[in-house]
């Protein structure tokens, strides 16, 4: 009689399963449970009080929460779209270059190596109203004679954070789209030109469908990492001034740690988690669709 053994893939996937469930899945169940309690760090017993959906109901009527939520979605929508367009532009510029492409590609990867904390710090330094590069440059050029309060005015601060985010992540898109452009066969483009397509038509109907899967890989990677905007905001403004740049994640941190209201923070966190999962699933599906489309045409 043969001894019963686990099938190989189960055995191979076991470590990953164990680690992920111990550090991610089980704690998430705990936080799901505690989102139904009025748990406060200062009163450990309160984790045993069950209050049902009270936290969630409270959040539904909480204006500050919905403002932060809306701001986060707006931030992501603007940032991702601009990054996509700028990344496409950058990739095409680099692809057109006849000389020094290697160096250009290396330079293009530069912002990717900066951690979000560093990006935040760097732009905080540059947008500083007193010693920052941006204000210094504007003043030296004579465009303005007073210091523009980049990080102190709410709208300007939002703009500054957006700039930092776009600077740091455009290259992710550019690199993947460039990989797509370079993998693309030449014949379809030439055929389109012979058939009398304008450059725009060639791009829209021949090049774009081919590089789309690459753009969606970049989107998927970005959506997996989307919450790193927290680091940037935390360093640059910490949600200030007066909550004008508060996004979902800084609000969670403030509620959970500064106010010690863990139960409420966990309820918020669950809404944030659902938001990221929705983003990721959308991009995964788009990626699968784009792959199929390309597979059918080439």
């Amino acid at each position: 009689m043969k001894a019963w053994r686990l099938p190989a893939p189960v055995l191979l996937l076991m470590p990953a399963f164990i680690v992920l469930s111990a550090v991610v899945v089980v704690p998430l169940f705990l936080s799901l449970y505690s989102s139904f309690t009025p748990f406060r760090l200062t009163r450990p017993d309160s984790i045993w009080v069950f209050i049902g959906l009270d936290n969630y109901i409270r959040l539904f009527g909480d204006w500050a929460f919905w403002t932060a939520f809306g701001r986060t979605v707006l931030f992501l929508a603007v940032a991702l779209n601009l990054e996509m367009v700028l990344g496409l532009g950058l990739a095409m510029l680099v692809e057109k270059a006849t000389r020094g492409q290697r160096i250009l590609r290396t330079m293009m990867m530069f912002p990717m190596m900066f951690s979000p904390v560093l990006v935040g710090f760097q732009f905080k330094f540059m947008f500083n109203d007193n010693v920052g590069l941006v204000n210094n440059a504007l003043q030296s050029l004579g465009l303005t004679d007073q210091a523009i309060p980049w990080l102190i005015d709410g709208n300007l601060a939002f703009f500054a954070i957006l700039t930092a985010e776009i600077w740091s992540s455009t290259s992710v898109f550019a690199i993947f789209i460039l990989a797509g452009l370079m993998a693309m066969p030449r014949e379809p483009i030439e055929a389109a030109r012979v058939d009398g397509c304008t450059p725009w038509q060639t791009f829209r109907y021949v090049v774009w469908p081919f590089i789309m899967p690459f753009a969606f890989i970049a989107m998927t990677i970005r959506s997996l990492d989307i919450a790193r905007a927290y680091d940037i905001v935390k360093i640059m403004t910490d949600g200030g001034p007066a909550g004008r740049t508060e996004i979902l994640w800084t609000l969670i941190a403030r509620t959970g740690y500064s106010d010690a209201r863990m139960g409420l923070a966990n309820a918020m966190a669950y809404i944030a988690i659902l938001l990221s999962i929705v983003f990721t699933l959308i991009f995964f599906r788009q990626l699968a669709k784009a792959r199929q489309q390309v597979g059918a045409e080439w």
């Binding site: 189960v10 191979l12 996937l13 470590p15 990953a16 680690v19 992920l20 550090v23 991610v24 704690p27 998430l28 705990l30 505690s34 510029l93 057109k96 270059a97 590609r105 290396t106 330079m107 530069f110 912002p111 990717m112 190596m113 900066f114 951690s115 979000p116 904390v117 560093l118 710090f121 330094f125 007193n130 030296s140 600077w167 993947f176 797509g180 993998a183 890989i217 990677i221 997996l224 989307i226 919450a227 790193r228 927290y230 680091d231 935390k234 994640w249 969670i252 740690y257 863990m262 923070a265 966190a269 669950y270 988690i273 999962i277 699933l281 995964f284 792959r291 199929q292 390309v294 080439w298």
Partner: protein, 288 residues
Amino acid sequence: MEANTLNRLNRRLLKIGHLISLFLAMSIICLPGLWVVLSSLRPTVEIMAKPPVWIPQQLSFDAYVSMFSGAGRGGIPVLDYFINSVIIAASSTIIALVVGMAGGYAFARYRFRGKTAIFVGFMLTRTVPGIALSLPLFYVYARLGVIDTHFGMIMAYVALNVPFTVWLIDGFFRQVPKDLAEAAQIDGCTRWQAFWQVEFPLARPGIASAGIFAFLISWNEFALASQLTRSTNSKTLPVGLLDYTAEFTTDWRGMCALAVVMIIPALALTFIVQKHLVSGLTSGAVKG
């Protein structure tokens, strides 16, 4: 003739426009980093000067010297943070690589039920925002007494990195033809030997780049580290950078110097693997 010269002019204009926009784009990309490096070498007086001093008058490495000369002068124990960062990032990378190799191999070489679902499930664990994950982890770690320890941070980072290493390594193993390992098995290797002697060496550059990717993620992580570390026991460099802003007078030069210290390992490592990184993530994008 007229159309010909017009066409030529047009083309030259396009070329100049292309060069100018390329130059502008590259300077936007490079300038912020260079500015930080430059500021770390200048005396604080020059950074604060009004009107601004554009051309540096004197450069020195004072900021770096005082940063590493202990808590006495800089006030912030950068050296401790640096050592913590290295220990945590390196050990979590090694563990994540081993786990990721097992998982990636399973995805690349075996067929089993629910493969796609498991893969997407792994990825979804990665979408959980760090700060949201830190809330329950903080509680669990506090209960287990592993808060502010290397062990706790390493475990957290392994979990953070496993989905990515599985994804990348899966792609690299898929690029290695299946026939090679099968041929080795026919020649009398066990599957284990075939893996180590045929498939592993071929996938090694890819695995190395997955490792560097994982290292960088741990090296740069902030949201979890900022809550799960408390003191010099386990604080990492990104959290240390925040220490500077907590002071009343911001030491811009010191912060710039610390930023340079953080970026140098990342820069060096990324340059080594940039080629493999992109090919790994995009492999299978077209062929499915």
